[in-house]
Amino acid sequence: MNFRTGDTPTPDIVILAHKLTREYDMGLELVRALRGVSVQIRKNEYVAVMGPSGSGKSTLMNLIGCLDTPTSGEYWLNGQQVSDLRDDELARIRNKEIGFVFQTFNLLPRADALHNVELPLIYAGMSGRARRERAEYALARVGLADRMDHKPNELSGGQRQRVAIARALVNDPSILLADEPTGNLDSTTSGEIMAVFADLHRQGQTVVMVTHEHDIAAHAARVITLRDGIVATDQLKAA
């Protein structure tokens, strides 16, 4: 589908980036991290974003994750234009629509697994009991039903990342957004995490994953490669 400025994306499009640019004013020089990226991702797609460092994939990831706003262009997430939302509205979008999975897990070290998973629900304003049930369900989904009261330092790397995935899923987001999710894991554990992702994808979850490893990207059904701030290739893998 060809999208033009002024259009509204069709309901099956979860992510629509239209001519997105992002420039950083570094004082002496203007860094153009994205120079017009147009991407559409449908519901239940499993997409890997690749590219060498400096290609703009982190910038794109930040924009898709609503952590940053574009210099120009449009970004539609789940039928809502978010490119010009304000701070608090972006926080709400991050809370409801996006589940982040980070390379370094980013769990609160002093809180147990359950509380870590509860965090997004706390910010959503959910009450204690419902919150607990949802968090327990999410942990069970990633196979950690018996580790709920463990603190992060009592868990293995793979288990920590699964807690992080449970936290990302707990609010039932439109997209699961993973930034180098296996970057800190050995190959066996990486395989486990990829299996979890594949599982979630099968259950209907839209997954966007940023990585620079080809064998990780190979798990995705579609690979988008960025180079110098533009989309270089966008390939659907033959199923």
Binding site: L67, D68, R94, N95, P120, I122, Y123
Partner: protein
């Protein structure tokens, strides 16, 4: 995020850093302890002054006719010399005023000095020796525990009898009935006819170290030149009648001394208000310096907490970024750090209140200071502690809330 969640979170964070949190409490703790302590002391003295001291020294609806005020804050030398030149209050003055008053009052003469009371080879040193008339005991609210007061007849005849304070009786005749026994005032013998019930202490001074003898007995040589009294005490039934009696007494004294309208009084009519004014002067000083000390320690405590909070924000930049990525709004982060800082200060304040209360109780038990705890000071102490937390936390918290999530997440 619900407030309860924020408080729980703050509590977890503080518990994880016990030592650091403990140190940051100290400033607020000291400030609030001092606040409670100082307040209790001032409050206690205040109650003592208004209820007991003023009542003890002068009495309700009572005034003293004197040459010069007995209780005064600082007086200049020239004023003091002017007072010293005034004529004394003579027996004849006291009689004329007592007889001239048309308002129903009771009156008594009073003269006193410090002296030793001896008996049996024992001595009570520097006791208050009083020469008075028979209504003195009524006016002063002195309860006779044993024996009887001396009579009007004994006063007029100048019989050497004496009513002593309970401490005097116990020291001179321990374990024995003092009634009918002899004590010596200025070397002369007096027969004990009564003992006054124990009154306790005021600022550590015993109120039971005294002896009262009839004004016209030989005791008058000990307390004043012949024919002179320190004070005529006049007690009326109400404040209104007291005022009326005072103006009558003033008129009588002015005419006796032939004062022209332009001349001031050469005597004073002192009421308990005078004593309270004296106290108010001291209180003003306390109320000026007390808050300053409290303020200084709270400011120091606040700065310590502010620094702790700045450190916490710097240390937890990554956590803040994470929370923002999970949907925390600015006000959620602001609230989290504010609650943390208020919890810190609140804990310090609560500990301070507790210590201040203990201090108050301890002071009352072991020192002569009449402390009295006031509920207002406890509430104010907690409030002030909490406000310090808000003041100290607002800048670090607002800095935390404005952190850019991307930069914050990237920080190691």
């Amino acid at each position: 995020m619900a407030l309860l969640d924020a408080v729980r979170l703050a509590w977890q964070t503080l518990r994880a850093q016990k030592l650091k949190s403990g140190f940051s409490l100290i400033g607020v703790f000291i400030g609030v302890s001092f606040f409670i302590g100082a307040w209790s002391i001032t409050n206690g003295i205040n109650i003592y002054m208004t209820e007991k001291f003023a009542g003890t020294v002068i009495g309700v609806n009572t005034f003293h006719l004197r040459r010069r005020p007995a209780f005064t804050p600082h007086v200049s030398d020239s004023m003091w010399r002017a007072w010293a030149r005034r004529p004394r209050i003579r027996f004849s003055d006291a009689e004329a005023v007592s007889e001239g008053l048309t308002v129903p009052v009771i009156t008594a003469w009073q003269s006193s000095d410090n002296g030793d009371i001896e008996a049996n080879g024992k001595t009570v040193r520097a006791a208050e020796i009083v020469g008075a008339t028979e209504r003195y005991f009524d006016i002063k609210n002195l309860t006779i525990a044993q024996g009887r007061p001396f009579s009007a007849q004994e006063v007029r005849s100048g019989v050497p009898v004496v009513v002593v304070g309970s401490e005097v009786a116990q020291k001179l005749y321990p374990g024995r009935d003092p009634i009918g026994k002899t004590v010596r005032l200025g070397g002369r013998p007096y027969r004990i006819v009564g003992v006054v019930a124990e009154q306790g202490k005021l600022f550590g001074f015993s109120l039971d170290r005294f002896a009262v003898a009839p004004a016209l007995s030989p005791v008058q040589d000990l307390v004043n030149p012949p024919g002179v009294v320190d004070a005529l005490i006049v007690k009326a039934n109400s404040e209104m009648e007291m005022r009326e009696a005072m103006s009558q007494a003033e008129g009588i004294m002015r005419s006796r001394r032939h004062l022209r309208p332009a001349q001031g009084n050469t005597f004073v009519l002192e009421t308990s208000e005078g004593v309270l004014e004296f106290w108010a002067g001291i209180q003003k000083v306390l109320f000026m310096f007390g808050p300053m000390v409290v303020l200084v320690s709270l400011v120091v405590g606040g700065i310590v907490i502010m620094n702790i909070m700045f450190m916490a924000v710097a240390e937890r930049t990554r956590e803040i970024g994470l929370r923002k990525s999970l949907g925390a709004r600015r006000r959620d982060i602001l609230r989290q750090f504010l609650v943390e800082s208020v919890t810190l200060a609140g804990l310090g304040g609560a500990a301070g209140v507790l210590f201040g209360v203990l201090l108050t109780v301890a002071l009352k038990a072991i020192s002569p200071l009449p402390t009295a705890l006031s509920g207002v000071s406890v509430v104010l102490g907690l409030l002030v502690g909490g406000l310090t937390g808000v003041a100290a936390g607002i800048i670090p918290a607002s800095r935390a809330s404005k952190l850019d999530p991307i930069t914050a997440l990237r920080q190691e």
